[in-house]
């Protein structure tokens, strides 16, 4: 089977003229919905309705890959990155981010951050100081990345220079709110003594300002309005009820920490002011997703009982769709696409790579 897909000619057409137009980012939320007011019309350098799927791959297999899904025809084309750049992403694709008409791809095992232009052509390979990049966010002309060795790094998007600040052990996800990054220090490598802190980094002077104590094994942080949602995985020790610490989604309002009230939270994804909470990813009845608004609370559930979803691996949300990656870790993964508004099943496809990690919509 041939895996080349993007014909460079069609890309040339699509990108024609686009490179000169720099989109203006007014927010630090990379998934900022368009039409939210304020932002200038963005040029259609990737044509409308195209999405990139990152496959994490299997440890030690150098099989991280990107695929492209097109809404028109509901068609999936694997091997996007290799098709254009004739080289592989390497080991364990962790996160992708579209920012400032560039695509950033964090590959943790290979310790690389690849930067491509809108044609997906590789323009830079950043070595994050021999660190394993985990999670990407952007803000005010900078891209931020956690390094598993215990750092938050800032990448200048014009010079690609790096500066970093030590946070806690094995940082994972983080969110940016009010000029500060809130970094979840999982301490995942200190098992069984997982970490329980969130480092607050002031992005101006790039120093750790303070450290919050949260539930065990924090892995993700999302900013909704003025609130931070912090997901901790607990200690996974469900075999021992007396020692077991369940996953917990906590809310930090700037001064105090409270429980969100959601139990068995497996993962979250954010779109605008909505948080999508995936529960029971591994339960016998399959996963459920709850849409949560900071103003209105939880509403509705995706996945009606007839669609029992097993092996949920990742959750991504774009303007129109909710993407649920499923995996058994040994075979190529699958992606289920649900409409975000109607909460209806829309499409599904095989990602032809292991462990589908994330989906991003390419800007119009």
């Amino acid at each position: 089977m041939k895996t080349t897909l993007f014909s460079s000619r069609s890309f040339g057409r699509i990108f024609l003229g686009a490179a000169l137009l720099l989109p203006v980012f007014t927010s630090c939320n990379k998934d900022n919905p368009t039409g939210g007011g304020g932002s200038a019309p963005q040029p259609p350098y990737f044509s409308k309705g195209k999405y990139l799927v990152l496959n994490n791959g299997n440890w030690g297999s150098n099989d991280a890959s990107l695929g492209r899904w097109e809404d028109a025809g509901k068609t999936y084309y694997p091997g996007a990155f290799f098709g254009i750049n004739k080289q592989h992403l390497g080991d364990l694709g962790q996160d992708i981010l579209v920012y400032g008409h560039k695509l950033y791809i964090a590959v943790s095992g290979s310790k690389k951050i690849f930067v491509t232009d809108p044609q997906l052509k590789l323009i830079r390979q950043i070595d994050p100081d021999n660190g394993q990049p985990r999670h990407l966010e952007s803000c005010k002309g900078k891209v931020y990345v956690t390094l598993y060795e215990g750092y938050l790094a800032e990448i200048d998007t014009t010079t690609f220079q790096l500066r970093k600040v030590a946070v806690g052990d094995n940082p994972e996800g983080f969110a940016i709110l009010g000029g500060k990054a809130y970094v979840a220090n999982s301490g995942g490598m200190n098992y069984p003594d997982y970490g329980n802190t969130v480092s607050v980094v002031d992005l101006e002077n790039f120093q750790v300002e303070k450290t919050l104590t949260v539930h065990d094994n924090p892995v993700g942080v999302w900013a909704l309005g003025e609130k931070l949602f912090i997901l901790s995985n607990g200690n996974y020790d469900y075999g021992h009820p007396d020692n077991y610490k369940a996953p917990k989604l906590q809310i930090y309002d700037g001064s105090s920490l409270s429980d969100s009230g959601f139990s068995d939270v497996s993962m979250c994804a954010q779109y605008g002011d909505m948080l999508y909470i995936l529960k029971d990813a591994y339960g016998p009845d399959g996963a459920a997703v709850i849409k949560y608004s900071a103003d209105e609370g939880g509403q509705g559930t995706f996945f009606p009982p007839t669609a029992k979803i097993l092996g949920a691996y990742s959750l991504s949300v774009t303007k129109d769709y909710l993407w649920l990656g499923t995996s058994n870790y040994k075979d190529p993964g699958e992606m289920q696409v649900w409409t975000r508004e109607g909460q209806d099943f829309y499409a599904s496809f095989g990602t032809q790579g292991l462990n589908p990690q994330k989906v991003v919509e390419l800007p119009e």
Partner: protein, 688 residues
């Protein structure tokens, strides 16, 4: 985003699952035919060496053949066998496990002088750690064995790889001294000394020691499109030292024979890990210390009664260290294991055609470790085998009923209650010789692979309620054997040909075996993910159907010159049949080639032996779904060996040179673990 954590966490675990601390014994089986014993069983022992007479597939290579092929590694010898694959993680220190007919490495018992190697922590044995220089023969059995005078554990295994060291044999002088030096590519060096002494008429001892060093920094291709580079393998340096002491005693008429064996080895090596694109940063090391002590007694009585009993103790220590930068402090894990085993087998030939045997092995094992949440498992393992064998001139029928009982306990705060396990495994084999030289064989065998301590108890991953994996084998074969009419009826190059000549008797000789088989593996133990942490489950089922062909032809023009051709071919259709809804349903199992084969052409003379070997494997996939990105290309390896044995005034000198992978093929057996390109080894051995 959290998943990486699982992958990284899986790293030490992966190694632990693959690695094996050395020895620890079980029972002893085959005692190599002792030259001082003059008993009818010697013929039986010799017969069992003949692949073509066996009622179940048996393949064997003896020292003279190994020498004439210039083999220096056990892996190379096993590669000459059909129906077996070595899962090789590359290089000198890389793990190498033996997988017989795709049942999984854990189904193969590896025996060293009758001692079952490996332990209960890991289910498979790393054969890269055996020292071929010390071995007199290597044999592989699958789907059963005709010899019922064997340990229960041996009789009940799905596959058995037996390696045996040389038994001292004194013709003229009362002692032998041997020294060997080898060197080769990638800073490989090996020095060995051995001393054998006869003490009076009935006693002899053997003392040996060896050192190995390898840097293993071979070059390999990073196959990454326009970013492809040629790199050197880092972090595979290994240093290994070992010593052994053997005592052989004849207690006199009707009092039996005694054997004492002591083995100690100590090794340290780097674990280079998989090749990671854009980043080569090996941070893992492994150290092993192993001690094995074994005492065996056996005797034969006038009434056709034979008995063998043994007692053994094994201790092994393993230390794993990882200095990866994402660890707050280096991870250091220490494992201590003890195994105490007692075994006995009694056989009774109550009629010229009939023989009965009863074997029992009892093993006590414990594992202590400082890994978090260690459950300190202790195991009492009992294996019992009751066998009957009938043979007449034309027929051979053997049947065995086995019973395996396992009782585990765990201690400490993380203790779990574990149910006792009891399993019954029958097997049956038969062969018949309708025409001279031709033999038809048929066998059936059920066997179990007990879950290892890691499968059961490894913190949070282990699952204490696992059942054993069950393997069912059927084999149907045809063998043909031809010897020159002038030659004696014994096997061509029998065990005793210590003279070192691999030249067969004058005339044409042939040994051909062709087997078709079907295997079913049920309750496969598989790691499945559950909420970022993996858990072991009995979920897999696989079936395999295949054919193995092996042939050895030789033509000796005179006692001075002969031509030999040996070849093997395997066809494997081995598929996953776990879940019809899955993508892997009825797809070939990962790392399973449809075709594999090879052959060696040898010219054997009194002056020099030359052999040329081809070894080929068809394409395979690293996944259970045949996606192009996961294809491992077919490869063909060429190698050449030149060697000669001189005899000088009572001294014997063996000189060998071997060049492997002459075509410098870039290939992988396991994805991301490149194998070395062209490399060579030279060996000098002196025996007095």
């Amino acid at each position: 985003m959290v998943t990486m954590c699982v992958h990284t966490k899986a790293r030490p675990l992966l190694w632990l699952l693959l690695l094996t601390g050395i020895p620890v014994q079980e029972a002893f089986a085959v005692s190599p035919a002792d030259s001082s014993a003059r008993i009818p069983e010697v013929t039986v022992a010799a017969d069992k060496a003949a692949e073509t007479l066996s009622s179940a597939p048996l393949q064997r290579l003896d020292r003279p053949m190994m020498d004439s092929l210039g083999r220096t590694e056990l892996v190379g010898v096993i590669n000459d066998f059909a129906g077996v694959s070595v899962k090789d993680y590359g290089g000198v220190g890389g793990i190498k496990t033996v997988d017989v007919r795709n049942m999984g490495a854990a189904h193969t018992v590896v025996e060293y002088d009758g001692i079952a190697m490996g332990d209960f922590q890991n289910a498979s044995v790393d054969i890269g750690r055996f020292d071929l220089g010390e071995l007199a023969s290597v044999s592989l059995e699958m789907a059963g064995s005709d010899d019922i005078f064997r340990s229960a554990r041996h009789q009940l295994a799905a596959g058995v790889l037996s390696v045996e060291s040389a038994v001292p044999h004194f013709d003229d002088r009362p002692f032998h001294l041997s020294a060997q030096l080898s060197g080769g590519s990638f800073y490989y060096g090996n020095a060995r000394l051995g001393y054998e002494q006869r003490w009076g008429k009935n006693w002899s001892t053997r003392l040996g020691g060896a050192f190995f060093y390898a840097k293993g920094d071979y070059s390999y291709l990073v196959n990454n499109g326009v970013a492809s580079t040629v790199e050197r393998r880092l972090g595979s340096e290994s240093l290994d030292g070992r010593g052994n002491f053997d005592l052989y005693g004849n207690l006199g008429e009707n009092a039996g024979r005694l054997r004492l064996k002591l083995l100690y080895s100590q090794a340290g090596r780097g674990i280079p890990g998989p090749v990671i694109f854009y980043s080569q940063d090996p941070t893992e090391h492994l150290w092993n210390k192993d001690l094995t002590a074994m005492l065996r007694w056996e005797n034969e009585y006038e009434n056709g009664f034979r008995v063998r009993a043994n007692l053994s103790y094994g201790w092994s220590f393993t230390r794993y260290r990882n200095e990866a930068a994402h660890l707050r402090r280096p991870e250091v894990d220490n494992y201590h294991q003890h195994q105490l085993a007692a075994g006995a087998v009694a056989a009774w030939r109550f009629h010229p055609c009939w023989q009965l045997s009863l074997a029992e092995d009892l093993t006590l094992a414990k594992l202590d470790s400082d890994i978090p949440e260690c459950r300190f498992p202790r195991r009492l393992h009992s294996a019992t085998a009751l066998s009957a064998r009938f043979e007449s001139g034309r027929w051979l029928v053997r049947g065995t009923v086995g019973l395996v009982a396992v009782s585990d306990t765990t201690v400490g705060p993380m203790a779990v209650s574990v149910p006792a396990r009891l399993y019954c495994s029958p097997s049956l084999s038969a062969s018949c010789a309708p025409w001279k030289g031709l033999r038809l064989r048929l066998s059936y065998k059920d066997s179990y692979r007990m879950p290892s301590f890691n499968d059961l108890y490894y913190a949070r991953v282990g699952n204490a309620s696992l059942r054993p994996e069950k393997a069912t084998q059927f084999n149907l074969g045809l063998t043909w054997r031809c010897r020159p009419s002038t030659a004696s009826t014994g096997p061509a190059s029998s065990v005793s040909s210590r003279a070192g000549s691999a030249i067969p008797p004058v005339g044409f000789s042939a040994d051909v075996t062709a087997d078709a088989y079907a295997n079913i593996i049920r309750d496969k133990i598989v790691a499945i993910p559950k909420m970022f942490i993996w858990s072991m489950r009995n979920v897999g089922k696989a079936v395999a159907a295949g054919a193995d062909l092996s042939a050895r032809f030789s033509y000796a023009f005179s006692p001075r010159i002969a031509l030999a051709l040996q070849g093997k071919y395997s066809f494997q259709y081995a598929v996953d049949v776990t879940d019809p809804a899955s993508q892997t349903w009825r797809q070939q199992l990962p790392y399973t080639p449809r075709h594999s084969g090879g052959g060696t052409f040898s010219l054997l003379t009194r002056w020099v032996n030359v052999s040329y070997t081809l070894d080929g494997v068809s394409e395979r996939y690293a996944l259970g779904v045949p996606l192009p990105e996961y294809r491992l290309d077919a490869y063909l390896l060429h190698s050449l060996s030149l060697n000669h044995t001189f005899a000088l005034k009572g001294w014997k000198l063996y000189l060998a040179f071997r060049a492997d992978n002459l075509g410098n093929a870039r290939y992988e057996i396991i994805r991301s673990y490149p194998m070395p390109g062209f490399h060579w080894t030279a060996t000098l051995r002196i025996i007095l």
